[in-house]
Amino acid sequence: MGVGIQVEHLNAWYGTTHTLQDINLHIPANHATALIGPSGCGKSTFVRCLNRMHETNPIARAEGTVKMGDLDIYKDVSPVEIRRRVGMVFQRPNPFPTMSIYDNVVSGLKLNGFRNRKVLDETCERSLKAAALWDEVKDDLRKKSGASLSGGQQQRMCIARAIAVDPEVLLMDEPASALDPVSTSKIEDLIFQLKTQYTIVIVTHNMQQAARVAENTGFFLNGKMVEFDSTHKIFTNPKDKRTEDYITGRFG
């Protein structure tokens, strides 16, 4: 089951650039939360702070409190452990090119030393079914490289890989921006199903996508969170003038 995320006074820097400025918000459990905003506004940095991927860049740092359930992810746990509990799907599909489809899906378990064949097989099937990819690949799980699939299939495989480690939160950084409309709609259907089990945070450039999949939406601008409210409210009756300007297409 998913957990809620409480973010308090989160600040992040790349070198001397202050990319996130005092972010405060509550992301409810088992809901999809969309983050919208123009390029470079800090949405991606924000989600990367939620699983401490931000720190893998040597010039980047973050300060503040991020609580997942009762767990302060910057104080109570190591980055490696938090990333096992917070799955991430990236903008471009990033399958492991040397691994088969099967190995790609169970890589999170295998690379962490898990070897029980029966459990791996079950996890692979369950994850691929959850990612709506099972029927398309079940016949060549071990024969084909993960990189030989189409872009949309690769991205669903990456989602399967992320949920195979049974995370509590799923972060998606523009998961459909490199995909065609058909693949995009499959990913969106998937988010709809997955949010019953996981807390989903999705970054998107596509405002219709945010409106379709998310209960709540946050609008980021220049490293600050301008507004956070129910998706319906953001898109019909935003409080802030800048949000209104952005969603009506006056800039960005």
Binding site: V80, N94, L111, S148, A162
Partner: protein, 312 residues
């Protein structure tokens, strides 16, 4: 055709006529297909010619070796040790085995150290003073004449131990292998996209495991090629062995004793005044080159076995 799209939702669409119509026959845009085909033919022809020029000497050497050496190859060559001066016959069994042992020693030392140093340069030390120093040293070491490696190891190990040894020969060759392997490993790791490392880190895989099981594994075909190149290069080296393994006319499997090696035996025979020894030297060269080819091919087959081929 001018773009005359009049959708009501696009008030900013340019008025028809504002944008010049696309016409591939206007000056400047005209494409001279015939000329392009000529250029294409010239470039393809030049690259084929270059390939032939590169491969021709290799084939010529192999044919010449077969011509000169094959006639001296017989069972004795692979089973007997060199005959004393004045007697005919004899073989290079001890040199073939000796080369195998010395190359095994140098591979066991040089390949792990070389790869580990390359991993440090690419993954952990990027941009640090130590990494830059190591990279510079490796490049300089690559250009040091092989005889200097032999003398250096002679001074460091042979003089200290007061005897020649197969082990010191292996060390000298390992030092020659390391810079090539280190730099190849670094460059191959640099070609692994960062997004793949992020995929592993994002799954909660520790950094060392990401490096070993994802980055190194993805780069492994290139790294194996680098190791094979380094191996093939040192397998034929004579100079570093002169002061270290020294050579031996008799059987010796003792790592702490002088040991025969094919390049050394070829060298000794080739500079001798006897026709018989010259023929044996040609045969030795042929065996050496075939051994290297077999070793490289076996490693390739082994490395490719069960490999998943990616790509779209």
């Amino acid at each position: 055709m001018a773009a005359a799209v009049n959708l009501p939702s696009q008030p900013e669409a340019p008025e028809p006529g504002q944008r010049p119509p696309m016409d591939f026959n206007t000056r400047g845009m005209r494409i001279n297909t015939a000329w392009r085909n000529v250029v294409n033919g010239i470039v393809s022809g030049a690259s084929i010619l270059a390939t032939v020029l590169v491969i021709a000497p290799l084939i010529a050497i192999l044919i010449y070796l077969l011509y000169k050496g094959a006639s001296s190859l017989n069972l004795d060559f692979f089973t007997k040790i060199p005959a004393p001066v004045g007697e005919t016959g004899g073989g290079m069994a001890n040199s073939i085995v000796g080369s195998g042992i010395i190359l095994a020693i140098c591979s066991l030392m040089g390949i792990p150290v070389g790869i580990a140093a390359g991993v440090y340069l690419a993954e952990f030390g990027r941009g640090s003073f130590l990494a830059n120093a190591i990279r510079f040293t490796a490049d300089v070491l690559n250009g040091v004449p092989s005889i200097v490696m032999g003398i250096a190891v002679y001074a460091l190990i042979v003089v200290e131990q007061k005897h020649f040894s197969a082990f010191s020969g292996g060390v000298a060759l390992a030092i020659m292998m390391i810079p090539t392997i280190t730099r190849t490993t670094e460059e191959m790791l640099a070609t692994v996209p960062h997004s793949i490392r992020e995929a592993a880190l994002g799954l909660g895989v520790p950094r060392w495991r990401t490096t070993v099981s994802v980055a190194l594994r993805t780069a492994s075909p290139g790294i194996i090629t680098g190791c094979m190149l380094a191996f093939a290069r040192v397998a034929g080296e004579t100079a570093p062995l002169i002061f270290t393994a020294f050579g031996n006319q008799f059987w010796s499997l003792n790592l702490n004793d002088a040991m025969a090696a094919l390049p050394l035996q070829i060298y000794v025979y080739a500079i001798s005044p006897y026709d018989e020894w010259h023929r044996l030297a040609w045969a030795g060269a042929l065996v050496l080159i075939v051994m290297i080819m077999v070793a490289v091919t076996l490693v390739r087959l082994f490395a490719n076995r069960g490999a998943i081929r990616g790509g779209n």
